[in-house]
Symmetry: C2
Subunit: 380 residues, 2 copies
């Protein structure tokens, strides 16, 4: 950074959702001028920035014009026009994460190739260009089909169990991946600044609910062995270094039943698996992302307490102006932090907020998290 | 609160300075719509709220018109038009702290009378209406003269040592107070919600620098005896209860050399002596103020770590567009949190930001704080 500190810095954020919102909450401490681009006229960041522009993130001209008078651009979503970001980089705008990193991560196929080329452990896979190819793959059934592009929050992913599923498969370019019989889904968030400092947050575990067949909550720190945690953190650091990324990188991984770690996917930005760092760690993922892109010394990522993060999702069967139930009761429980995202409208499974629960005793934290899942409902 | 949660709530803040700014950082989690009134067109809150209005806080019409369509009003400075707030209260706008509390606290004379009437320990005092009265007071020289109204950050306070100082004394209505030979300046922040729940933050100590003759930093938690801490917290709770305040109340006190506690002054809002709660305590003073005015259960105020707060003041000899030195070096030290207030212009001693330093070891925290005082400079 040329400037000693940031009163004049114009920082653009591509995307004005909850990640941008929490990034702004932290960026306020750094005095920067925030510009936000988002297609939603009611985006959560709209009223919290120096300038809000409503426009398409995947349109070249929109992104280019948004960025051309800014000093630095970051993202809170990968689905942005990378050609425009490359043009801006060529003109001297700092783009963190770099356009080439976003381009690679936008395509799950390129991600997989990158893992292979760099000896990063990942599940066996194969590219297919259309569902016709499914009949002649080398990966054995059952397997997972993932669209190479534009998948999000479980969308763009299908499980193919038998030949009978072929006709319902995606038609678009995709990858098929060997099914991993995992013990636990885990994640490590790593930060790297331009001078090459690298730092990881402690590994977190996703707690799976077998009845509902989905991730119920996220818990940190992990209780797996130091060896497993160190291995996951080493992999995350290696990826950050191989990519030479500037900014935050979330690395989602599978821990297999025989103690192997396989990298699943990357996100080059603050991530849902790091929300608990706001209250649970000495430095939050949002503060760390800012330290990284501003080329400042990275903060201490140590854990301050057992922390659990649960997403507040729009309740099934409700769509419209959001209403929140049970928050008062939840706040009566000690160590409960509610973060609402300022979204006007709810729909089923929309991420409307999250709650962080901290406690010195891990079992109590889990009990409290389960209580809160019963208490808080987002309806319309 | 009538509403279960706050998507539609219009909250007005009188004052758009750093206290409002940090309150907004927290209010973002509660989803409320924030309206801010401040006379400074470059106020720190300007770009962080749903609506910013530039206008005089002491003007009846300005405050009344600002508030008449809001659901709730709070303050970040006491110097506001209380008549307008009373009119708004009469029309059903929730004003927290209540207009009568602000009226009382605006006048240091009424504060002193209130202490006397409610058996709250405070130094001996006497009212005077002009400096002519100084010749015939009952309080013995040397003493402190304080303007009853509009004093702020040490302004409006004079020490009168001898008869020779009479001619330089304030002419306006004031109080004279017996000089307290104190061991330490201390403060307790207390919160009370409308259902009558009361909760204090642990007592903090102001660390005095005898060379510079000013408060150097604030340190929490205190190392004075449990008995002294309990006494200070009991006094703060009694005042909150006697006032029936809704919101936060900062109680500044003197601990005398013989272990007595005397109340100095009150501030009915978040306060400089509570900034370290953001990183140092389970609930920050800003989150607690919002819980109190929204009539939610109050949060856990326990300490998470030794925390020191230092103000970043505009350097002497510099006035103009603010520039910050040494922040990068400061952030290289572990447990350092920089909060800049987004003020465009600096002048000598203007509060431009603060730094919180946390550490598990108190002596290390103090060492680090001293280092940071040397490192960070706000110039122009």
């Amino acid at each position: 950074m040329a400037k000693d500190f940031y009163g004049d810095l114009r920082l653009g954020i591509l995307g004005g959702g909850q990640l941008g919102r929490m990034l702004i909450q932290e960026a306020i401490n750094f005095n920067v001028n925030i510009h936000v681009l988002d297609p939603d006229p009611n985006a959560p960041c709209k009223r919290l920035c120096n300038q809000f522009e409503c426009g398409a993130l995947n349109d070249y001209d929109t992104v280019y014009n948004f960025g051309k008078d800014l000093d630095m651009i970051t993202i809170e979503i990968e689905k942005v026009n990378v050609d425009a970001l490359e043009a801006l980089e060529a003109e001297g705008v700092l783009v963190y994460p770099q356009a080439r990193v976003i381009r690679l991560i936008q395509d799950k196929g390129l991600q997989k190739q990158f893992f292979k080329q760099n000896d990063i452990p990942t599940s066996a896979f194969q590219f297919i260009s259309s569902k016709e190819n499914l009949a002649s793959t080398q990966v054995a059934l059952p397997y997972i089909q993932k669209l190479r592009k534009d998948g999000y929050d479980g969308k763009g992913v299908k499980r193919i169990n038998t030949v009978a599923d072929f006709e319902h498969a995606f038609e678009e370019p995709s990858i098929i991946e060997e099914l991993v019989d995992f013990e636990k889904e885990i994640a490590v968030i790593v930060a790297r600044n331009d001078r090459g400092d690298i730092s990881t947050f402690p590994m977190v575990e996703m707690e799976f609910n077998p009845q509902a067949n989905l991730v119920e909550f996220l818990i940190a720190p992990s209780t797996f062995s130091d060896e497993i945690q160190a291995k996951a953190e080493t992999i995350a650091k290696k990826i950050a270094n191989d990519l030479q990324i500037v900014g935050l990188l979330a690395v989602e991984m599978f821990l297999t039943k025989d103690g192997e770690i396989l990298v699943n996917e990357l996100a080059p930005r603050p991530h849902n698996s790091g929300h608990q760092t706001i209250e649970g760690n000495y430095t939050s993922q949002f503060a760390q992302h800012l330290r990284a892109i501003f080329n400042l010394p990275l903060g201490n990522t140590d854990t301050r307490a057992n922390a659990i993060m649960i997403n507040l999702l729009g309740e099934e069967g409700y769509e419209g102006l959001a209403e929140y139930e049970g928050i008062e009761e939840a706040l009566a429980i000690e160590g409960v932090y509610v973060h609402l995202y300022g979204k006007k409208y709810t729909k089923p499974f929309r991420k409307m907020g999250h709650v962080c629960i901290i406690h010195s005793d891990r079992a109590t934290a889990i009990d409290n998290a389960r209580k809160i899942q019963q208490l808080i409902k987002v309806k319309a």
